[in-house]
């Protein structure tokens, strides 16, 4: 293979001025608008956003939705759309809430004769007539009391299954014309509700069983409707006219009512009448309202307060289904009835019962809460003037004994304005009974929530409120309760009172926590909630760090994991709410620094990658925000401190290098020279401790560039040297977000960036080698055994060729002010140029080898492109007067024409630009090329 001697052409004058005009905005302009992630976007939103692309909804969510749809689908006619509230929706929400809240691990008991399993076989051989009669009688008795089976020791799940089985059984019996059997199942189910042996499960049991009763009621109603108006009718409860009901349907309805009225026991009778309430429509519409009033009085006969209250709930629920808005008066009636019987709840017999079931009093009272809430819901809607009603009920509350349960429900159900206006009064009530009250935490919590929601509360009033509250809260026995109460009230204090007040509360909290004697870690969950609330609600987040009680509070938690959790919340909320871009206050800086230390110290070998990533992000935010304004030295010191503190996190180090680099650029004052050096040294020292080679090379390049910019030639050279040393170690793939990614694109970009920087770097005159760094680079390239056909390889060679050609020029294309580049340094010294051209010759030779290798590998397209690229470089950068260059150009062109690709735009473009040029060399070349083509 002939060796083509490379001769670079000297360009006379490259100075050409492009037309330009001044603009204010351009793509590279630094965007000063700092984008803050709003804190309201929770992680769930993020997840939703990500999953929105998929059609599939979260399966659990889908079930939930299906349930809701079902409720809305099945009875669109029965749903009374009234202003204010949709009771059936409210009920279904309540239903789900109850089922989720009241669960038990206790064993349950079902008493029923209709459940499969344990079915007694009554068939036996009968001999004489007497036996036969007896047997018959026994069979008749089969469904009577005597054959009722008690299934004991059921788990909650089994119980639910059994109840559902009974529900199906009702439908089955009804479908097979055994209507009395269905009726009996209904009675038996409602009898189950008199059993309060597992009280904790009672509300859920109530929901399950009322579902069955609803099923039964609907079955009866539908049959009567069918009897009256035929199979397909669009009648519903609201447009049935009793006058148009035929006699037979009325008779059937009457029969059901008589049957129901003869049920011996009170509880099933009441439940069954409620289930059949809507059937009164067939007899007389007025009857419904009379029946409801009568039932609400008859419930007085139920002695057990829990049973009777839930009975009232079911009555109000059925009433709301039938009458909608009109039913609200019954809600109020029943509430009044309940208040009359209020003291029954606290009877000693009940106390014995719940104590024997190992329930605490507050757990026991909590069983009543959803029921009272439901009664209050309707009552509240019926009244226009809520604050009057509240006033009235509160007065009642003040009068009765053991008022905590009712007070709690009142406070949580009523609207914010009413509650807020009476806040002082409520506090008074609570304070007067604080020692004995059980649900004090719930009352205070919901009161606090109301206060948080309300706006413009009077200053002095809120001060006195907080004082009273603190007196009560600080004497709470349970730390859990204390923290629970603290949460909303702290928010209230944050929004309504001065920082001093909040600080006092925080100090008190620390005292309380220390005094309670238990390690704070037990309550770290609650503690975290409190922190969150406070951080979110305080008007100025920075103020928090200025309080002397805040940091001790954070450090109250001892275990590192719990503490890390808290620190993480504090920091993430802090940064999401932090409004200014920069952090200046030294106290804040040192506090946040402490938090970051804690965060950093939590990272160890077993920390999950995501976890450390999150920590890294938080710390990065901190580093980026801190500024000491013009005191650059302090800034650098800060960075030094950071490096020593956060050495475990690569991302932090990267950020630090970037930060220091930008600091170095900022330090342009004459006396900043040593600082620039220091910065360069900092970077040079920091980079090696990173793990990823590619990042290291990138940072070396950047640091070198910055050093070069600051005329720190030695440092720049050191960086570049280190970079070159790393090139062989760059892996082909790197792991990014768990996926393998090819590095060659990045490496290509990096190398070309590096090469263009080299143009500016003045040579090390002390060394005996010209173009010291570049030669080092070329040697390294030779040393790496890259595959010849790899595009990365030959593109890099081409770029090196470009650089070599450019370096031979008398004046370089660009300069850095104050940096003496090689053109000035050597002044086109022949020795220097000879060295460069020798390298160019070698590279050109190598490229020809690559061309051949490509041809051998039949990679025609690559070969064609490379040939043209090289041709172009020869033509543009080479001196065509030299013979070898001319013949090389000709040969390359011939090669490209030989393996001509269908897509020869590139060749045509080259040709046309050559033809336009007036340089005599090109004319000559063109002539030669044409000849060559003809000879082909």
């Amino acid at each position: 293979m002939p060796v083509y001697e490379w001769t670079s052409a000297k360009k006379t004058c490259m100075k050409h001025v492009s037309p330009s005009f001044e603009v204010t905005s351009y793509p590279l302009k630094i965007n000063t608008i700092s984008i803050k992630q709003s804190s309201s976007i929770s992680i769930v939103d993020h997840i939703n956003k990500w999953s929105s692309g998929f059609e599939e909804v979260d399966p659990l969510l889908r079930f939930e939705r299906m349930n809701l749809d079902e409720i809305l689908d099945t009875n669109p006619l029965e749903v009374v759309q009234i202003e204010g509230i949709n009771y059936s929706k409210a009920w279904s929400a309540k239903r789900v809430a109850i089922l989720n809240k009241y669960t038990t691990g206790e064993k349950l008991t079902i008493v029923s004769s209709y459940l499969p399993g344990g079915e007694k076989a009554l068939i036996r051989q009968v001999s004489n007539l007497n036996e036969k009669v007896k047997h018959r009688l026994e069979q008749l008795d089969y469904f009577d009391e005597s054959s009722v089976r008690k299934t004991m020791g059921l788990s909650q799940q089994e119980f639910v299954t059994n109840i559902n089985m009974l529900n199906d059984e009702i439908k089955k019996a009804w479908g097979s014309e055994q209507r009395v059997k269905a009726f009996k199942i209904g009675i038996q189910c409602s009898k189950l509700l008199s059993d309060i042996s597992v009280m904790q499960f009672y509300p859920s049991k109530f929901i399950l069983i009322t579902d069955i009763l609803d099923t039964f009621g609907t079955l009866v109603f539908d049959r009567l409707k069918e009897k009256s108006f035929g199979l397909n009718n669009s009648k519903n409860i609201h447009n049935i006219d009793p006058k148009s009901v035929p006699e037979s349907a009325k008779e059937t309805c009457q029969n059901w009512m008589y049957k129901m009225a003869s049920i011996r026991e009170l509880l099933p009778r009441l439940y069954m009448e409620m289930a059949l309430l809507k059937c009164y429509v067939f007899i007389s519409k007025e009857e419904i309202k009379l029946a409801i009033s009568r039932l609400s009085i008859m419930i007085r006969g139920i002695g057990n307060s829990l049973v009777s209250l839930y009975l009232r709930v079911y009555l109000c629920y059925t009433a709301s289904k039938l009458l909608g808005k009109e039913s609200e008066v019954y809600f109020y009636d029943n509430l009044k009835e309940f208040l009359e019987e209020y003291q029954q709840i606290f009877q000693t017999s009940m106390r014995k019962k719940y104590e024997s079931q190992l329930l605490t009093q507050d757990k026991y009272l909590n069983l009543y809460v959803p029921a009272i809430d439901w009664l209050l819901l309707g009552t509240l809607n019926s009244k226009k003037c809520k604050s009057d009603l509240f006033d009235k009920l509160l007065l009642k509350c003040e009068q009765i004994e053991n008022n905590e349960l009712f007070l709690c429900c009142l406070v949580s159900s009523f609207d914010t304005t009413s509650v807020k206006n009476q806040a002082a009064r409520i506090m008074e009530v609570v304070q007067s009974k604080a020692e004995k009250m059980v649900m004090i935490n719930e009352i205070l919590t919901s009161l606090g929530e109301h206060l948080c929601k309300g706006e413009n509360f009077r200053q002095n009033a809120s001060e006195s409120l907080i004082q009273t509250w603190w007196k009560i809260a600080s004497s709470l026995k349970s730390t859990h309760h204390f923290l629970q109460v603290l949460e909303p009230w702290l928010q209230f204090a944050c929004t309504h009172l001065s920082t001093q007040h909040v600080n006092v509360i925080l100090r008190g909290t620390i005292r309380y926590m220390v005094k309670c004697g238990k390690p704070v870690d037990e309550f770290s969950g609650n503690f975290q909630f409190v922190m969150k609330r406070m951080l979110r609600s305080i008007p100025d987040v920075e103020e928090l760090f200025l309080m002397d009680a805040f940091m001790p509070l954070v450090e109250l938690v001892q275990t590192s994991s719990a503490r890390t959790m808290i620190v993480k919340t504090v920091l993430s909320i802090f940064f999401s709410r932090y409004t200014s871009v920069q952090m200046e206050d030294p106290i804040v800086i040192s506090s946040v620094m402490t938090l970051c230390w804690i965060l950093h110290d939590s990272i160890n070998a077993v920390t999950v990658e995501d976890e450390s990533k999150l920590c890294g992000e938080l710390i990065n935010k901190f580093i980026q925000a801190v500024t000491f304004q013009d005191d650059l030295e302090r800034q650098l010191n800060f960075y030094v401190e950071c490096r020593s503190s956060f050495i475990k996190l690569d991302t932090v180090l990267i950020t630090l290098v970037h930060a220091v680099n930008s600091l170095a650029v900022r330090a342009s004052t004459p006396r900043g020279k040593w600082l620039q050096r220091a910065c360069a040294a900092y970077c040079f020292v920091t980079v090696p401790s990173l793990h990823c080679t590619l990042t290291k090379t990138q940072l070396y390049l950047l640091s070198g560039q910055v050093a070069l910019l600051n005329n720190c030639i030695g440092q720049a050279e050191a960086n570049f040297k280190a970079l070159i040393g790393l090139i062989p170690d760059i892996p082909d793939y790197i792991l990014e977000d768990g996926q393998k990614k090819l590095t060659h694109v990045k490496v290509g970009a990096l190398l070309s960036d590096f090469l263009s920087t080299l143009l500016l770097l003045p040579d090390n005159v002390d060394g005996n080698c010209k173009a010291y760094i570049l030669s080092g680079f070329i040697k390294t390239m030779e040393r790496i055994h890259w595959k010849r056909t790899e595009p990365l390889y030959y593109t890099t060679l081409l770029h090196t060729l470009d650089l070599l050609c450019e370096m031979t020029q008398e004046t370089y294309a660009h300069h850095i002010e104050s940096v003496l580049s090689n053109d000035k340094l050597y002044g086109s010294d022949t020795e220097f140029i000879a060295v460069l051209e020798k390298y160019a010759t070698n590279i050109c030779q190598e490229l020809l080898v690559v061309l051949k290798a490509l041809g051998d590998n039949k990679e025609t397209k690559k070969q064609y492109n490379l040939a043209l690229e090289l041709f172009w470089r020869v033509v543009r950068r080479g001196d065509l007067k030299a013979r070898p260059m001319m013949s090389l150009a000709g040969n390359l062109w011939m090669l490209s024409q030989k393996i001509q690709d269908s897509n020869n735009k590139f060749a045509k473009a080259i040709m046309s630009s050559l033809q336009k040029d007036s340089n005599p060399n090109f004319r000559h070349l063109l002539q030669k090329l044409e000849e060559g083509v003809k000879n082909l």
Partner: protein
């Protein structure tokens, strides 16, 4: 059996009053032609009396008095002997419900349908198809319910009482037992004269009770008396028992007493020469330790008018000479409705009401001393240990 015979009444409720006509169809369903010797329809009303087993020995001598009493026996021929074509044939009929005209001594007239233990009053519509010599006659029957025309509502007779350890008389079993708990209970019945189609109402209040209460119950009892002037058997049996208080109810609260009277097992309080049907109400309070305290109220059941009819009746009494139109305007009723009421309910003074009125007088005396003892656990003011029926 190829041939089916059924009676279908026009009125779904099957309830008829005296003087009305029972209308309906007899449906003959057959695959082939039916040849018959005549189709007849019979309405038969009977009172069946039965003596309770414990009295049988003594009363066998009076066997004549327990023969069933015939109340009505009307016979009509639906079709003369002939053929009925295959398929479904409906033969309409109308039969008047009227008491026998020639009154024998002791004939009570048409009584209300009643199903009891020792007394049963039933009306049956029987259809029979006589067939040729070799075939058995085909029979079918259908019960109809007879109700009195509405009686005039008697004035409300409220009754109230207090129950406490001083007012009750301990039953012999309980006398030897441990001391009685302290209690004070107040009970009130809105009226001891009750309309059959209206619920029985009242209230009960536990003012004080030293032991927990387990249950408060209402027991409806029938007292059936069979026999004649020389001697009789009297039996009290429970009709239904309804719980009105469950568990230890709240003190000082009025608990409503509310009982819907069962349809089949009750009838207006009846007194005839051969038998009597009377009713009583027991209020029972059962304590946690199975103590049972009962209070007994004799009640008078009547078939009363609806409120509207009562209003019409009052107006007729006050101004007998008013024209239908004027009365309709005064009562704000449609004229047709008014006519129906006048024709159906108020043609003349309802004859069975007399018996009821006499009864009230007889009962009044009893009410004055409510601590009278009645056998069979229905005794008032009894304290019985764990023995409530």
């Amino acid at each position: 059996m190829a041939t089916n015979l059924t009676i279908i009444l026009k009125r779904v409720s099957k309830v008829y009053h005296e003087g009305e006509t029972i209308a309906g169809v007899v449906v003959v369903e057959s695959n082939s032609e039916v040849r018959h010797e005549g189709l007849t329809l019979t309405l038969e009303g009977m009172v069946n009396l039965q003596l309770s087993s414990k009295n049988v020995g003594i009363f066998e001598a009076f066997s004549n008095s327990i023969k069933p009493i015939n109340l009505i026996n009307t016979n009509i021929e639906l079709a003369p002997p002939g053929k009925i074509p295959p398929g479904v044939t409906e033969i309409p009929f109308e039969m008047p419900l009227r008491a026998r005209q020639a009154v024998s001594p002791g004939y009570p007239g048409l009584l209300e349908t009643y199903h009891g233990v020792f007394v049963n009053i039933m009306y049956n519509l029987k259809c029979s198809m006589k067939r040729s010599f070799l075939n058995k006659p085909l029979n079918t029957s259908c019960q109809v319910f007879v109700q009195y025309k509405h009686q005039e509502p008697a004035p409300l007779k409220p009754v109230r009482c207090e129950i406490n350890p001083a007012t009750i008389r301990a039953s012999s079993a309980a006398a030897s037992r441990a001391p009685m708990p302290q209690f004070q209970i107040y009970a009130e019945i809105d009226s001891t004269v009750c309309a059959l189609d209206k619920p029985l109402t009242g209230k009960i209040r536990v003012d004080e009770c030293s032991v927990p209460i387990r249950s408060i119950e209402l027991q409806l009892v029938r007292v059936e008396t069979c026999g004649c002037a020389e001697g009789y058997s009297k039996d009290a049996t429970e009709i239904q028992n309804i719980q009105i208080g469950d568990g230890d109810v709240c003190r000082n609260r009025d608990i409503p007493v509310y009982m819907v009277l069962p349809r089949l097992f009750t009838c207006p309080t009846t007194t005839t020469v051969n038998f009597k049907i009377e009713f009583e109400l027991n209020i029972a309070v059962i304590f946690e330790d199975d103590y049972l305290v009962t209070e007994n109220f004799p009640i008078l059941l009547i078939r009363s008018w609806s409120a509207r009819t009562a209003e019409v009746a009052a107006s007729v009494r006050a101004a007998p000479g008013l024209s239908v139109r004027a009365r309709a305007r005064a009562l704000r009723l449609p004229r047709t409705t008014l006519r129906t009421i006048l024709r159906a309910d108020l043609p003349h003074a309802p004859p069975p009401a007399l018996a009821g009125k006499q009864q009230t007088k007889a009962k009044k005396r009893k009410k004055l001393k409510p601590t009278q003892e009645v056998e069979h656990g229905a005794g008032c003011g009894q304290l019985v240990r764990s023995g409530y029926p």
